[in-house]
Every structure is written in structure tokens, then in C-alpha cells.
Symmetry: C2
Subunit: 472 residues, 2 copies
């Protein structure tokens, strides 16, 4: 059983840590973007160094006080918010935002956990390199949180998830010991891969304090196109065709439903709409090619072959980088439009690529048995990862359908599970999906997770209630 933060604990910490560590709690640390959780925090601590993080963790371990690690606060599953239980320490990494080193010749950058993704991207760019992790919240999401949640985003197809972009981590483990794992190695087979265990553990096994990140040479030329595809199956055929023609040059492959364009037109009329007569399904494809290659020409060739094969009926190829950015603004604004419309239930799901058409074909009719809804299904189709979000009809509100939310979620998640998919593709488990994990995860996996958690964090102080239920 955990204890709440006490003045004694804070006094003890004040004796060894600089005053700047102790912050005034503000509402920003107790909220999350979708407003589902209201957090509580007994104290807000913002250490400036890894030894300071370790000192806090050691003291909390001794006092059996919970710690909620806090990055940019952009997580969508409540991993950064503890709404109940003994008041925890909120440990913010915001003062540890140094880029410790850039090694362009190695394609490596070492950043502290509090570094903001956009700042890491800029540091890489200044060194003539690309850090390819990219997602809508990159202006505020921090490296520690991005790794702890194994963030995805738009470039996973080409460059992988956050875990694939990390060569090593430094972390404070639940006993306060420091894992020195910032190796800048492409190959290291010396024992269990603790890096991959901490990545995606959402702070429940320790606090990542710094990471060695992979950079890549930036593509010499980029291009993008919006293509009107016949249906989701045609989108997948188009993807295969694009990869056969262009190989790894395909950086992103996103699906957009007409519903998303409608939502944009309704809530953000300033966004330029690409189609006069919008097709049901649009694909945004983005290329990054090497020197001497022409993305526009490659996209023209792809369009011609896909048109010939009956996969696409219309297409817009960006004629400038400004137009390419317009295409991306369209895509990246859909989540905000969704928020303005107000989803009854949102689902961050993935299925095997070939199951996407079946998922979409079965999802609508299954939900229609629960009620009359609008569905906006969009996202990273090249990764099999869709955001499948359910909205009220025009003129209705999400509040009117609150009582159907559980049924909607179960309907979508059951279908995804049935198709061999995941009920959390890129957002993680946090606190929102602890029950989903218990329901859908393999029992042997759950048992092993619990055994690992108990072995590394026997008192259960690390992010209590996230990923796994808190011990009671």
C-alpha cells in the first residue's frame, strides 16, 4: 500500500535538492488533452539532473510514495494523470531539456528526457540530419514521454516507431539506481534489452532521463500527393505498388475519409479543401528521395500506373513545398476538427494490413446496431493503424450518447481483437485502457508483465495504476 506525499518527505528532499526543484502546482499538471481525467498531485518536483531524479526516486521508494513522471502532458490515455489513490509526487522532466551531444558522422543525437521533440528536430536539422519522429503534438511532447509511450506518428512506415529510433537510454529505476545505457551503438548483444523494456512501459518501470537517438540523412527531395482511391482495399494495393516502385522512399501513407474533410469544412473553414467533389477515400502519400531523383515524376508514374489499374480516380500532386505543406496541414488538422465536433468514443487501433478492408466493412454495420453515428476513420494506413472515431449525428451532442460509449468501445475493440489487432496501436495503455489490456491481452503476457513489474518495482511506486492496476 502506498502513502501520500507528506511534509516530512518534502522536508527531507529540501535538505538535499536545490530550491528550484520545488514547484508550485498548476492545473496544467493535473489535466490531459481530452479532459477525461482530473489529476491530483501532492507535490510538483522538477529536478535538473539525473542524480536529482535518482534522489527523489530513492526517497519516494523508502517512503512508499507514488511518482507520476510528467513530460509534455500530451498523452491521450491518462498515463500522466493519477486521478485517485494516495497523492503522488509529480516528477516533471521539463528542466532536463538539454541536447547533450550531436554526432552527425554517427547519425546520433543524445537528448535529455525533457527535450521537446521540435527542438530535437531542429538540432538534427542544424547538423544536416533528420530526426524522423513526427506527430501532431511535436511542439510540446518531450523525448522522455515519447519514448515511454513508444510514440508513432506519420513516419513510422519508413523509419519505425519511437523505439526504433532509440539506440540507448539512461533511466532511473524504481529503487533509485541509475541505468547508464546511453550507448551509441548499432549493435550490442550484451544481455537483456532493458531499453526496449523501458520504452513503452509508460513510466511504470522507471523514468527515462536521457536517450541516444538515431538520426538519418535527410532525403534530398520531398514530394507529396493526394490520391482519390476506390476503397480501402485499393489504398493497400496502391501502397504495395508505391513500395515496389519507390522502395523505402515512401515516407508516409495516410488515409483520409470524406467525413474528416467534412469536419474540417465545418469547424475550420480556413483550411484549403483539395477537392471540389470530395471522394469517399483519399490517400496522402509522401516521398523523400535521394539526390538526382524527382519525387514529382515518381508520383506521376505511380498515379499513371494506379489509374491504369483502377485503384485511383483522381489525384493532386504537390507542385511546390508550400503545396506539400498544405496537404499535410489538411491531414494534421483532422484531430483538432474531431475535437471540435466532439467524439463519443475514439479508438487508436491497428490490424494486420490485409484486414483493414474487413475492419472498415464490418465496423459501420456493427455500430449501426448500437445507434446512428458518424464515423471518421483515418490515419496511418501504411502501418495498419487507424484512428476509428465515432461521433454524434449533426445537431446532436456527445453527451446525448454518453450511455452508449461503453457499447461502442466494446464493439470496435471486439472487432479489432477478432481480426488479430491491437486496441492501442500508438497511444499506449495509460489509465484509459487498463481494463482493455486485462480483457484482450494474452494471459501469459499479463502474468509476465505483472511479474516483471513486481520484480523491478516491488512497492509499486512508479506511475501507480498506469498500464497495470495499482497494488492495493
Amino acid at each position: 500500500m502506498l502513502n501520500p506525499v507528506t511534509d516530512d518527505l518534502l522536508d527531507q528532499l529540501r535538505a538535499t535538492l536545490p530550491p528550484a526543484t520545488f514547484r508550485e502546482m498548476t492545473p496544467a499538471y493535473l489535466e490531459e488533452p481530452r479532459g477525461r481525467y482530473q489529476g491530483q498531485g501532492g507535490a510538483l518536483l522538477a529536478p535538473a539532473t539525473t542524480p536529482e531524479v535518482a534522489a527523489i526516486v530513492r526517497a519516494c521508494a523508502q517512503a512508499r510514495v507514488g511518482i507520476v513522471p510528467f513530460g509534455g502532458g500530451t498523452g491521450l490515455v491518462g498515463g500522466q494523470i493519477q486521478p485517485e489513490g494516495p497523492a503522488p509526487v509529480i516528477l516533471s522532466l521539463e528542466r532536463m531539456r538539454a541536447i547533450r551531444a550531436v554526432h552527425p558522422s554517427e547519425n546520433v543525437l543524445v537528448a535529455e528526457a525533457g527535450a521537446i521533440l521540435a527542438d530535437v528536430q531542429v538540432a538534427a536539422e542544424e547538423a544536416g540530419r533528420l530526426f524522423p519522429l513526427s506527430l501532431a503534438s511535436e511542439g510540446s511532447a518531450r523525448i522522455g514521454g515519447l519514448l515511454s509511450t513508444n510514440a508513432g506518428g506519420v513516419n513510422v512506415l519508413r523509419y519505425g516507431n519511437a523505439r526504433d529510433l532509440c539506440l540507448g537510454v539512461e533511466a532511473v529505476l524504481p529503487d533509485g539506481s541509475v541505468l547508464h545505457g546511453l550507448k551509441r551503438l548499432r549493435k550490442d548483444n550484451t544481455g537483456y534489452d532493458l531499453r526496449h523494456l523501458l520504452i513503452g512501459a509508460e513510466g511504470s518501470l522507471g523514468i527515462i532521463t536521457a536517450a541516444a537517438l538515431k538520426l538519418v540523412p535527410p532525403p534530398a527531395a520531398a514530394g507529396a500527393a493526394l490520391l482519390a482511391v476506390r476503397d480501402p482495399a485499393a489504398a493497400l494495393e496502391l501502397l504495395a505498388m508505391a513500395q515496389a516502385q519507390i522502395g523505402e522512399g515512401v515516407s508516409a501513407f495516410e488515409l483520409i475519409h470524406r467525413m474528416g474533410l467534412d469536419f474540417l469544412a465545418e469547424t475550420m473553414p480556413d483550411i484549403r479543401q483539395p477537392w471540389s467533389d470530395p471522394p469517399e477515400w483519399t490517400v496522402l502519400i509522401d516521398l523523400g528521395l535521394g539526390a538526382g531523383q524527382d519525387p514529382g515524376a515518381a508520383l506521376e508514374r505511380l498515379f499513371a500506373a494506379a489509374f491504369e489499374a483502377g485503384l485511383v480516380s483522381d489525384g493532386l500532386i504537390a507542385q511546390s513545398q508550400a503545396q506539400r505543406i498544405d496537404f499535410w496541414t489538411l491531414r494534421e488538422s483532422i484531430p483538432l476538427a474531431n475535437r471540435r465536433i466532439g467524439a463519443i468514443s475514439s479508438h487508436d487501433i491497428s490490424v494486420p494490413l490485409s484486414a483493414i478492408p474487413e475492419l472498415i466493412a464490418r465496423g459501420g454495420p456493427a455500430l449501426a446496431e448500437i445507434g446512428n453515428f458518424r464515423i471518421n476513420c483515418f490515419g496511418h494506413v501504411g502501418d495498419g493503424n487507424l484512428h476509428y472515431n465515432v461521433f454524434p449525428r449533426p445537431g446532436e451532442t456527445r453527451a446525448q450518447h454518453e450511455n452508449k460509449r461503453t457499447a461502442i468501445k466494446a464493439c470496435v475493440h471486439d472487432l479489432v481483437h477478432d481480426l488479430g489487432g491491437s486496441v492501442s496501436a500508438e497511444h499506449g495503455v495509460g489509465r484509459l485502457k487498463v481494463e482493455d489490456l486485462e480483457r484482450y491481452a494474452d494471459p501469459a503476457k499479463l502474468a509476465a508483465m505483472r511479474a516483471i513489474k513486481d520484480a523491478l518495482d516491488p512497492a509499486g511506486i512508479m506511475n501507480p495504476g498506469a498500464v497495470l492496476r495499482a497494488l492495493s
Copy 2:
């Protein structure tokens, strides 16, 4: 404390398992390629299904009998051989060699652990895809062992290590439960990544029984060149130049020292030598490009720019696939030539890319203080992974220097550690490097590894003594 295999245990297993499970022990299961270990095995069991594997593990867990998982037997660190302690069950995956499914449209192949790498490569090729894991022992190494050791090989630069080519695993955990993790998903953030924990654990946390493997579209055209580089620093500059010009199209980038060519000339005179006057350092670069691109032309451009920059002095660009294969035969025969010469001590090490010149510059003089040796340093320089092997002078034998082996190993490993490197880049820890792990690994890492091992395998039955010391 473990027990040896008993007739009682075997009788109990015979009651539930088919007779074909029980095999006659042969020396092949008690040897390893370098002859450093002589194994012992109380029984050889070769189950045909995952439930059969589970039944064996459950019975062994109950009887506290050790299990040594056995794949292709090609491991170089003794992970598949238990030379001491109570006689274990040797559990061979050789009968589980099915390719369970190929999903070309998803770029996924599902193989059982006993499938031989070359067979997986062929199955991928028949589906119009490429499984890019490739290494010298691919004709006998099996998928389960390749994943358990996180094998590397020649295409890591482009496609990653074995772990990067695996989407999911099915495994039997030390309590005999089956982890059903064969998801064919590119994104799945539902809890701790047990896949990555089992991969590289060398059978010490469970037995991988099947895996969902990533395929890629095969490059449309391949090309290769041998380039005489000024020195190791020039090799790294050449790599950066190649990646800037050709991007992900660079599939492999291997370093060859003149010593390797000398060994080939001495032990395998039939191998065609590329140079009349061999340079000290040669790079083998391999390209795989998309449709419409010309690898030969790309290599010519690269050579011209590198020559201009003073990085290379001579070059041979393969004029045919046959010649490309010749280049690779040269590279892939070096390990066999090494074996025929007879190394005093071999080292599979990695360092940050930019530290390679310093490693090579310091290594020779440091070893010269121990004795007069020949050094063959070669390998996957694009990954920072070199095989740094130390041989007797001509006319001497390794036996004459046996007493210097410990000092040689410590000299090389201390230097590597000092440069932030790894003393096992791709071969793993096995039993050969348990002490190295204890000496060089971060204490917090070692403690966490031990806690995880004890939590998942409290009796210590899984591959006792591999990676971590056996409990006594």
C-alpha cells in the same frame, strides 16, 4: 539447485508425448563451431508442436531440471552447450520448421523456430519478397536461435538486427505457459514489449517457438563494389558520402583488411583475389536500388566523388551479378580462412562509429605490448561492428600463445569499453562472455537482469548458466 534429468522424468514425458519426440543423443548436440565447449545432455527431445514444448517445460519446471534450447547449433559463444552442472534436457526445435504462413501483401511471414534461415529466405523470395537477415551460417542457423541471439549479419546497416525484423513471437515461458504474441502488427502499444525481452535473451527467459517476421520488397537492382580506402577514417567518410548520395539504398558496407586477403590466399587459394597489389583496407559496398535506378552508375558516381576527395585510391565495380557474388564470396570466406589459420583470441565488438579509427589505431600498439601477433580486423564497419581477431605469426601456433589469451582478450575488451563500445556486438553472451558481462555491464543493468530472470524463471531452469551465472 537444479536436478539432473532422471528416467522418472523421461517416463513421465513418454506417457504424454509421441515417441518421435525422444531422440538419440549424437555428438552434434554437444559441440559448437569453435570447439571451446564440450556439452553434456541427459536427454535429447525434439517436440513437433508448441503444446509439446510447453509440456516438456512444465515437466522440467516441476522436476527442477534444466533445459538447453537448441536451434542450428551455429552460435559462437556456447549458448547452446552446457558443459557443467546437472545434466539438462536438450530441447531441439529441429522438427518445428514449418513456414506457417506468408502474407506478401502485408510483408509478413510466420515461421516456426526450427525453420532454417535459408528456407525462410526462399519462401520470401517465392512470394516476391525479401527476408533481409543474411549471415554466413544461414544454411543451418534456425529462426529461433537467430532471434534468441538477436543475430546481425551483413544487412543490418539497411534493415536492422534480427530483432528489427520481428513483429511478434510465440514462446513458451519458464513456467510452461504459452505466450501468444504472433501479431502481424506494425504498431502495438499494449503493455511491456516481451518480444524484445525474449529476443536476445538466448533462451534464458523462455523458448521462442514461432515468429512473425518482417519482409521487404526486394530491391529491383543490386550492385557491389570493392573500393581501396585510404584508412578506416576514410571508410567512414565514404559511408557518409554513400548514404548522402544513395540513402537507404546502401545495403551493406563491410571492411576488409589485407590480412584477411592474405589468409584467404594462404588457406583457400581457389578464391579469386581482387587486387594484384592489395591495399591495406578494402571496403565492400552493396547497393539495392528501386526500379529505374542503375546501381553501377551510382557506384561510379560514388567512386568518382570519393576519389576526388582522396578517400579511395582504386576500385572494382561488379560488372555482373556473378562478379557481385564473387565479391561477397571473398568477404564471406574470411571467417573460414580465420578458422584455418587458428585465432588465439576472437572479439566480436562494436564501438560508436566515430571511434573506429581510434580503436584500430590503439589496438595494434596495445597488443604489441603483450606479444608479436597478426591482427585480422574486418566486418560490418557500417554498424560499428568489427571482428577483431588475433592470430599467431606465421610458423607459430595458437597453442603456443594460449597463456596470452586472457591478456589479449582483456586488452581488446578494455579498449572497447573505454571507447563506449560493446564486448558482444552480434554473437551474444552465451557462456563465453558471462564474466565479461559481469565485468563491463552497468551494475543497475545487471541487477535488473537478475531480478527479471528470477521473476520469470525462479528455479533457473531455462538455459542454466547462459547470459547470467546459474544459481547454485
